[in-house]
Amino acid sequence: MFDHTFKTAAVFASLGLVLAVVNAPPAVAQEAGAVTVTFSGITRPTGALMVGVYDSEAAFAGGKPVEGFRLEVAGPEASQVITGLKPGRYAIKVFHDVDGDGRMNTNGFGIPTEPYAASNNAPSRMGPPSWADARFEVTAEGAAQTITID
């Protein structure tokens, strides 16, 4: 019952630390269109959303994002336009750093106590959201994602 929650916490907890070391991706010749990401359903308008964009299953499972950002929360919705990605498959994960301490809080047994979500609103099914459920295509026309969090 509990192993997947540990996994979930670990997968998301790494996000806060990793964001600090992500640089803007280098400009590339073949740029995809812009990706518009909207986060909705926010019930506690404090802190920030910590967002990571990943380009592989391995990275999504706990590696480095190709793009990462911190988005201030001031209401029930927040959005961000991501540019500069190469065409391809990506997935997003996000946690709501409600208390603004820069990390995903967990309870005494390591179970997340701050909301988290992934692209396609991929669910946690006996484990953290999977790459297969969360991945989406970014083409020359770009992409749009609406992710419900909280």
């Binding site: 019952m1 208390d99 309870n107 005494g108 047994f109 179970i111 946690s124 099914r125 006996m126």
Partner: protein, 485 residues
């Protein structure tokens, strides 16, 4: 097999009489044992209905509500729960007042119930139900059935499970208010279904996660006084613990969680060769601990503990020799099979010299309760369910066992009844141990109706002082709480 193929096959088999599918289904239904009503489904909430008085008169001065909890929805078209402990919690309110008695019942509106309802199948994994990988599970609370017990505190009824948070329920309307989060950092922390309440109202409880536990202390108001994380010597399955006025007593039975798999019961190994350990902690300093050794046994429930003048700690327990019922019997129940259940009353003594003693009695006993005014203090009486019928999984009698005299004052509801937990209610002005009434329910299988009974706690064998009968027969539940007034 379609109807024609079925008939052809039946004819080909040379049956003297052709059996139609309808007859097969009818026979299957008839082969369901009479007690299957005890684990039947309740379709939905039950509005308040009067209870019909069928025997005696209620004692003067008895007014209040018996709240009870228990699983009441196991089956859905696309797939069923496969363990008794995985049904949706149904909170029942048996109200006794000057105008008579009434019953209403409402399901706890859990995430699990919503998810299973939406799927049209029990997809959420549980204690003994595998579930489906279609289920959304963000934390253990997404599998919380809120189906085991009730703690009235802070103006709320907390519907308790054991691996997640309580659900808060309105005691007046039985409406679910939501998951109870005592503070943000305590979200989704487990809270066992058996809190121990001191006579002054302070609540102690545990939550388990393998070899770690949280110790909860709540003020009588329901606010958190303190929590602490402790390490345990082994990852025993623990449904209950007990306490004296100064100690917490954790029975670490050799049913050990040693792997990560679903459902939870499949992650447990029975290792009788390792014996049972008993861990005693000082309430004032949880780092002060003593460990005792006992022979292996399985138990769900313990009685209130007390300490004696020489430092000996005593408590009773309802023991079985193996976890057969928890692992298999409670699965078999849902498909109409009655397994072996050999639970009986025992007394455990923990001596100051480090010696532990286990004295079993032949008295069948489950759902032990005592006078809550003596919780943690010396007492001699234990309220139980008792009387077993061969081939029947549930008990049919109630009683009070007295450790001082060695006598038991028992009442047998009879072969058509399934007994449920009895609680003590004090008679106003009477401070003696069990000076007052016992109140509890039963399921009358013949009348297909739930009954409410009140006994004089000093004369159980005389039978109920008063009994009422509902229009509905609700499945047998687990634990309840009495709220006077």
């Amino acid at each position: 097999m379609d109807r024609r193929a079925f008939l052809t096959a039946a004819a080909a088999a040379g049956l003297a009489q052709v059996v139609t599918p309808e007859q097969v289904f009818a026979r299957a239904a008839a082969s369901q044992p009479a007690w299957s009503l005890a684990v039947a489904d309740v379709a939905g909430d039950i509005p308040r209905q009067p209870l019909r008085r069928i025997h005696g008169r209620p004692p003067a001065g008895l007014a209040g509500t018996l709240y009870r909890n228990g699983p009441a929805r196991f089956r859905r078209p696309g797939g069923d729960a496969t363990h008794w402990f995985d049904g949706d919690g149904l909170v029942r309110a048996f109200r006794i007042g000057e105008q008579g008695a009434s019953l209403e019942a409402r399901f706890v509106d859990t995430f699990k119930r919503r998810q299973d309802t939406a799927a049209g199948a029990v997809i959420t994994p549980g204690f003994g139900t595998l579930g489906s990988d279609r289920a959304v599970i963000g934390s253990a609370d997404d599998t919380n059935a809120a189906n085991t017990a009730l703690l009235p505190i802070g103006g709320e009824l907390l519907a308790l499970w054991e691996a997640g948070s309580p659900y808060a329920v309105d005691p007046r309307t039985l409406e679910t208010r939501g998951l109870k989060t005592f503070s943000p950092d305590l979200a989704h922390m487990p809270f066992l279904a058996h809190p121990r309440i001191e006579p002054n109202g302070r609540v102690w409880n545990l939550g388990l996660a393998g070899r770690r536990a949280i110790v909860w202390t709540l003020e009588p108001s329901g606010a958190v006084e303190r929590t602490a994380l402790i390490d345990l010597p082994r990852a025993s399955y623990m449904h209950d613990f007990t306490a004296t006025d100064r100690h917490l007593i954790l029975v670490l039975q050799p049913l050990i969680q040693d792997r990560m798999t679903l459902p939870f019961v499949d992650a447990l190994s029975w290792r009788p060769e390792e014996g049972t350990q008993v861990l005693v902690l000082d309430k004032d300093d949880l780092s002060k601990r003593r460990l005792y050794d006992l022979p292996a046994f399985f138990c769900f429930h313990l009685g209130d503990a007390w300490s004696e003048a020489d430092g000996t700690l005593r408590f009773d327990a309802c023991l079985d020799s193996t976890p057969q019922f928890a692992v298999h019997g409670a699965r078999d129940l849902l498909v109409g099979k009655a397994g072996r259940n050999g639970v009986s009353l025992a007394m455990i003594a923990l001596h100051p010299d480090g010696r532990a003693e286990l004295n079993r009695t032949p008295l069948t006993a489950e759902f032990p309760r005592a006078d809550p005014r003596r919780a943690g203090l010396a007492r001699s009486k234990t309220i139980i369910n008792t009387v077993r019928t061969e081939g029947r999984p549930l008990l049919r009698g109630v009683g009070v066992s007295d450790w001082r005299t060695g006598k038991a004052d028992l009442f047998d509801y009879g072969p058509d009844q399934c007994a449920e937990e009895l609680l003590f209610v004090a008679r106003p002005g009477d401070d003696s141990e069990l000076g007052g009434w016992l109140i509890g329910t039963s399921l009358n299988l013949k009348a297909r109706a739930t009954e409410l009974h009140v006994f004089d706690a000093a004369h159980v064998a005389d039978g109920p002082l008063c009994s009422w009968r509902a229009e509905v027969g609700l499945p047998v539940g687990f634990h309840g709480a009495w709220m006077g007034g």
